[in-house]
C-alpha cells in the first residue's frame, strides 16, 4: 500500500489556526463539510422526533407547543443550514476552482468570511433554541410571526438573515470566479456541467437571497418597533409577506436542486463513459431553470386569497419551469444509451436521483395544476412532493458526489460494498417514508398537525417505519467514510479514469492545485475519442 508522503493541502499546515484562518478553498470546503453534516444530523434528529410523535393519532409524546417548535426547527435547519449550502459550499467550493483550472476562488477572504457568517447564523439559531425555540414554521407567515407569536422570532429571524449573507457571498464568489478565472482554452461551452449548474445557482443566490433578508428584517422590525408593514389592523395586506417570502423561497429550491443536477451530469458521464448527450441543452436548461424560477412563486399561494387571474398566470409559468428539468432527465437517459455503464456507488446514487427526482417532478405538476392544488395545498401531499425533490434529489446527489470525489478530497477510496448497501437502504427507507404521505395527503391530512384523526394512523406508522430505516441508512456512510480516512485503499490521481481537470492533479491535491495555469485543449467529457 503506497504511503501518501507527498505534501498536499491537508498536511500543508497543522494546528487549529491553519484550519480556522485558512484561505484555501479546499480547506474551507472541509470546514463546510463537517459543519453541514452536524446541522444535517440535528435537523434529522428533529425529523425523527416528528415522525415518532406522529406514530400515534393522539399526539401524546410532546405538547403541541413543543411539536410546533420541532417542525419549525426541522424546517429552518434543513433548508437554511443544510440544503442551500450543502452541495455549493462543500463540493462547489472544493471543485469549482480546480474544474476551471484556477488556483483558488476569486476572493478567498470572502470565502472564509462566508463560512464564519454561516456559523454565526447557526449560533443565533442555537441561542433561539436555547431560549425556547420558535413556533412559526420555517415560513414565518405574518400576522402570526409578526404579532401573535410569543416565541423567539426575532433571534431566529436574525439567524436566517445572517446565514443569507453566507449564501450571497458564496454565490458572488462563484459568479466572479467562473467569469474571470477560467484557464486559457476553457471556453464557456467546454465548462463541465457541474460548473454551469453552480453558475445558475449562484445567479439565484445573488438575485434572490436579499429579498428574504429584507423581509425577515421587516418582520423583526415590526416586532421590535411596531413598523406595522404586515399588520392587517393598520390596513396592511396579509398576503404581502407571502409574496415577498416566496419570491426568494421558490428560487431557493432551485438553488438546492441545480447543483445536484450538476453533480448528476458528472456522475452519469463518468460511469457510462460517454459525453453528456445534448451538452448545450443541459447547460442552457440550468440557466432557464434559474431565470424561470423567479417567475413562479405564486403557486404557493393559490388558495391564499390571491386573485384568481394571478393564480392562472403563476400556474402556466410553473408548468413552463418544469420543462427544462424534463429536458435534463431525458438527456441523462440518452447519455446512458449505448454507454459502458458500471454500477459503482456513485452511479447507484445517480439512479436513485433519477428515480426519485422524476417522481418529485411529476408530483410537482399536480401542484402547478390549480384545481388539484386547491385540494392538496398544505396537506401531506405537498410535504411528500418537496421531500422527494429535496431528500430524494438533492441529498442523493450530494451523497453520490461525496462518494465520487471522496478519493480526490481525501486520497482514499470508500469501501465499495458498504457504499452500495447504504445507497440501497436509503432508497428503500426513503420510499417507505414518503410514498404513504402522498396517500394520506390526498386523504386530506393537513401538514403541521400535532395530532390527527385515527383513520390516518396506519399510513403514518408506515411513514415512521420508513423514517427509521432512512435514519439508519444516512448513518452508515458516516461510519465507513470516517473509517476510510485511515484504512481506505489509497486512490491514485484518477481512480475512475475520468475526464476533467480535477482528475489530472494528484489526490489529495496540492494547495496550489496546479503548478502554473493548465492549458485546456479538449471538450468536456470527451470519452471515446480513441475511435476517431
Amino acid at each position: 500500500m503506497t504511503r501518501l508522503q507527498r505534501k498536499h493541502y491537508i498536511n500543508n499546515g497543522y494546528g487549529a489556526l491553519s484550519w480556522f484562518l485558512t484561505l484555501d478553498h479546499k480547506r474551507i470546503a472541509l470546514l463546510y463539510l463537517i459543519t453541514a453534516t452536524l446541522f444535517f444530523a440535528l435537523g434529522g434528529a428533529f425529523a425523527i422526533a416528528i415522525r415518532l410523535e406522529l406514530l400515534t393519532p393522539a399526539g401524546d409524546m410532546v405538547q403541541s407547543e413543543t411539536y410546533n417548535k420541532m417542525f419549525t426547527m426541522h424546517g429552518i435547519i434543513m433548508v437554511f443550514f443544510f440544503l442551500i449550502p450543502a452541495i455549493p459550499a462543500v463540493l462547489g467550493n472544493f471543485l469549482l476552482p480546480i474544474m476551471i483550472g484556477a488556483r483558488d476562488m476569486a476572493f478567498p477572504k470572502l470565502n472564509l468570511a462566508s463560512w464564519y457568517i454561516y456559523m454565526l447564523g447557526g449560533l443565533f439559531t442555537f441561542v433561539a433554541m436555547a431560549l425556547g425555540g420558535v413556533d412559526t414554521g420555517w415560513t414565518f407567515y405574518t400576522p402570526y410571526s409578526s404579532t401573535y407569536a410569543n416565541s423567539q422570532v426575532i433571534i431566529t429571524a436574525l439567524g436566517v438573515f445572517i446565514t443569507g449573507f453566507s449564501s450571497i457571498l458564496t454565490g458572488l464568489n462563484f459568479l466572479v470566479t467562473i467569469h474571470t478565472m477560467r484557464a486559457p482554452g476553457m471556453s464557456w461551452f467546454r465548462l463541465p456541467l457541474f460548473v454551469w449548474a453552480h453558475y445558475a445557482a449562484s445567479l439565484i443566490m445573488v438575485l434572490g437571497t436579499p429579498v428574504v433578508s429584507i423581509t425577515i428584517i421587516l418582520v423583526a422590525l415590526e416586532r421590535l418597533f411596531h413598523l406595522g408593514i404586515f399588520d392587517p389592523a393598520l390596513g396592511g395586506d396579509p398576503i404581502l409577506f407571502q409574496h415577498l417570502f416566496w419570491f426568494y423561497s421558490h428560487p431557493a429550491v432551485y438553488i438546492m436542486i441545480l447543483p445536484a443536477m450538476g453533480v448528476m451530469s458528472e456522475l452519469i458521464a463518468t460511469f457510462s463513459r460517454k459525453r453528456i448527450f445534448g451538452y448545450s441543452f443541459v447547460a442552457s436548461s440550468s440557466l432557464a431553470i434559474a431565470v424561470l424560477g423567479f417567475l413562479v412563486w405564486g403557486h404557493h399561494m393559490f388558495v391564499s386569497g390571491q386573485s384568481m387571474y394571478a393564480g392562472l398566470v403563476f400556474s402556466i409559468l410553473s408548468f413552463l419551469v418544469a420543462i427544462p428539468s424534463a429536458i435534463k432527465v431525458f438527456n441523462w437517459l440518452a447519455t446512458l444509451f449505448r454507454g459502458s455503464i458500471s454500477l459503482q456507488t456513485p452511479m447507484i446514487y445517480a439512479f436513485g436521483f433519477i428515480g426519485l427526482f422524476t417522481i418529485g417532478g411529476l408530483t410537482g405538476l399536480f401542484l402547478a395544476c390549480l384545481a388539484v392544488d386547491v385540494h392538496v395545498h398544505d396537506t401531506y401531499f405537498i410535504v411528500a412532493h418537496f421531500h422527494y425533490i429535496m431528500v430524494g434529489g438533492v441529498i442523493m446527489a450530494y451523497l453520490g458526489g461525496i462518494h465520487y470525489w471522496w478519493p480526490k478530497i481525501t486520497g482514499r477510496m470508500y469501501p465499495e460494498w458498504w457504499g452500495k448497501f447504504s445507497a440501497v437502504v436509503i432508497f428503500i427507507g426513503f420510499n417507505l417514508t414518503f410514498l404513504p404521505q402522498f396517500v394520506v395527503g390526498y386523504l386530506g391530512m393537513p401538514r403541521r398537525y400535532h395530532f390527527y384523526p385515527e383513520e390516518f394512523q396506519i399510513l403514518n406508522v408506515l411513514s415512521t417505519a420508513g423514517a427509521s430505516i432512512l435514519g439508519i441508512g444516512y448513518m452508515i456512510p458516516l461510519f465507513y467514510l470516517v473509517w476510510s480516512l485511515r484504512y481506505g485503499k489509497v486512490a491514485g490521481p484518477n481512480p475512475w479514469n475520468a475526464k476533467g481537470l480535477e482528475w489530472t492533479i494528484p489526490s489529495p491535491p496540492p494547495t496550489e492545485n496546479f503548478d502554473g495555469t493548465p492549458e485546456v485543449t479538449e471538450e468536456a467529457y470527451n470519452y471515446g475519442t480513441n475511435h476517431a
Partner: protein, 315 residues
C-alpha cells in the same frame, strides 16, 4: 369518516369527482412517465453493462430533433393540464348567484358559523344536501384556512378582509373540517365536522333551537342600538347615504371612482368610514372599530342586505 383504513377520500361535493378525474389523469400520466424512465434506466444499466477492459463507446454529441421532441411533447401535455386545471379552478372560485350564504369566522383555534336564519354553531357546520352554499369567511386574528377534504376545496381566511368558499354537497353524512393554514399552538385542534342533511332535516334543525332570531333581525336591533338610522334615512336631506338596496350596487365616491358596495366595502365603511366617502356626503361618520365585534358586523351587513324594498317603519 366511517371505514377504518380509507385510501381515498369520500367525494361529497359537486366538483369533487371533477377534481378526482383530473387527479387520476395526472396519476396515470406520472405512472406512465415513471415506468418509462425507470424501465429505460434499468434496461440501459443491464444492456450496456461495462464489460471488463472494454473500449469507451463512440461519443454521441446530441440530436436537435430529439431535443425538440422531448421539450415540445411535455409542453403540450402540461398545457392540457393547465387548461383543464384552470377551468376547474375558475369554477371552484366563482360561486353561483343563487348560492345560500353562511358566514364563518376563524378565531384562534375555533370556527364559528352563522346561518342567516339565526342559528350559530361552533366547530360544526350543518348544510343541506344539493343546495349550492357559499361561506363568507373572515378571521379575528391570524391566517386560518377552511379545508373540507370531502368537498375537495379550501380557502384561506384572512384578517381584515372577506374571502369566500363555495360547494354543493351531494352526499349526506358527516365529514372532516380542518384548519389548513398554520395558526399557532392549537392549529391541530382547530377542526370540526361538516354535517350534510336532507333539506327537510336541515329546515327542522334550523328552527330547532328556539329563541335565536334571524340574523338580519338581530342586525336591525344592532342598527338601532348603534343609532345608525339617525344619519342613514331614506329622505334626501339625511346626513348619511340611504342604505336601501345599497348592497352590491355601484356607489360613486367623492374621488370620482365607483366601487361595488359588497360585504368588504360595507365592513370597511363601518370600521374605517373615512376610507371611502360617497359623492355628495362629508366625512362625519365616527369609526366603530373596537365597538362592533366581527359577529355583530356580519349581522348588521345581513340586515343592510335585507333592505330591498323601501323601509316603512324605521323610526
Amino acid at each position: 369518516m366511517n371505514s377504518k383504513f380509507p385510501l381515498f377520500p369520500e367525494a361529497a361535493s359537486s366538483f369533487a369527482h371533477h377534481v378526482d378525474t383530473l387527479y387520476f389523469f395526472l396519476i396515470a400520466l406520472s405512472v406512465f412517465f415513471s415506468v418509462l424512465i425507470f424501465g429505460l434506466v434499468l434496461f440501459f444499466a443491464f444492456r450496456y453493462k461495462r464489460k471488463p477492459n472494454a473500449e469507451d463507446p463512440k461519443p454521441m454529441l446530441g440530436d436537435l430533433r430529439l431535443e425538440l421532441t422531448w421539450s415540445i411533447i411535455p409542453l403540450l401535455i402540461t398545457m392540457v393540464i393547465f387548461v383543464w386545471g384552470g377551468l376547474l379552478y375558475y369554477h371552484q372560485l366563482t360561486p353561483p348567484a343563487n348560492a345560500q350564504e353562511i358566514f364563518g369566522i376563524g378565531k384562534q383555534w375555533m370556527w364559528k358559523f352563522y346561518h342567516p336564519e339565526g342559528r350559530n354553531e361552533i366547530n360544526e357546520l350543518h348544510v343541506p344536501v344539493g343546495r349550492p352554499t357559499k361561506v363568507i369567511l373572515t378571521s379575528e386574528d391570524v391566517l386560518h384556512d377552511l379545508f373540507i377534504p370531502a368537498f375537495r376545496t379550501k380557502m384561506d381566511v384572512l384578517p381584515g378582509r372577506y374571502t369566500q368558499i363555495w360547494f354543493t354537497p351531494t352526499k349526506t353524512g358527516t365529514y372532516h373540517l380542518f384548519c389548513a393554514e398554520y395558526c399557532g399552538t392549537k392549529h391541530a385542534d382547530m377542526k370540526g365536522t361538516v354535517t350534510v342533511m336532507s333539506p327537510l332535516e336541515y329546515q327542522g334543525w334550523l328552527n330547532g333551537e328556539l329563541g335565536q332570531d334571524r340574523m338580519d333581525k338581530t342586525g336591525k336591533e344592532l342598527f338601532k342600538q348603534f343609532a345608525c338610522q339617525t344619519c342613514h334615512q331614506d329622505q334626501s336631506l339625511s346626513r348619511g347615504p340611504s342604505l336601501t338596496g345599497v348592497y352590491d350596487s355601484m356607489v360613486l365616491l367623492n374621488n370620482g371612482k365607483t366601487v361595488k358596495a359588497d360585504a368588504d366595502y360595507l365592513r370597511e365603511s363601518i370600521l374605517k368610514p373615512k376610507a371611502k366617502i360617497v359623492q355628495g356626503y362629508d366625512a362625519i361618520m365616527p369609526t366603530y372599530k373596537g365597538q362592533i365585534s366581527e359577529e355583530q358586523l356580519i349581522q348588521i351587513i345581513e340586515y343592510i342586505k335585507s333592505l330591498k324594498e323601501p323601509q316603512k317603519e324605521v323610526n
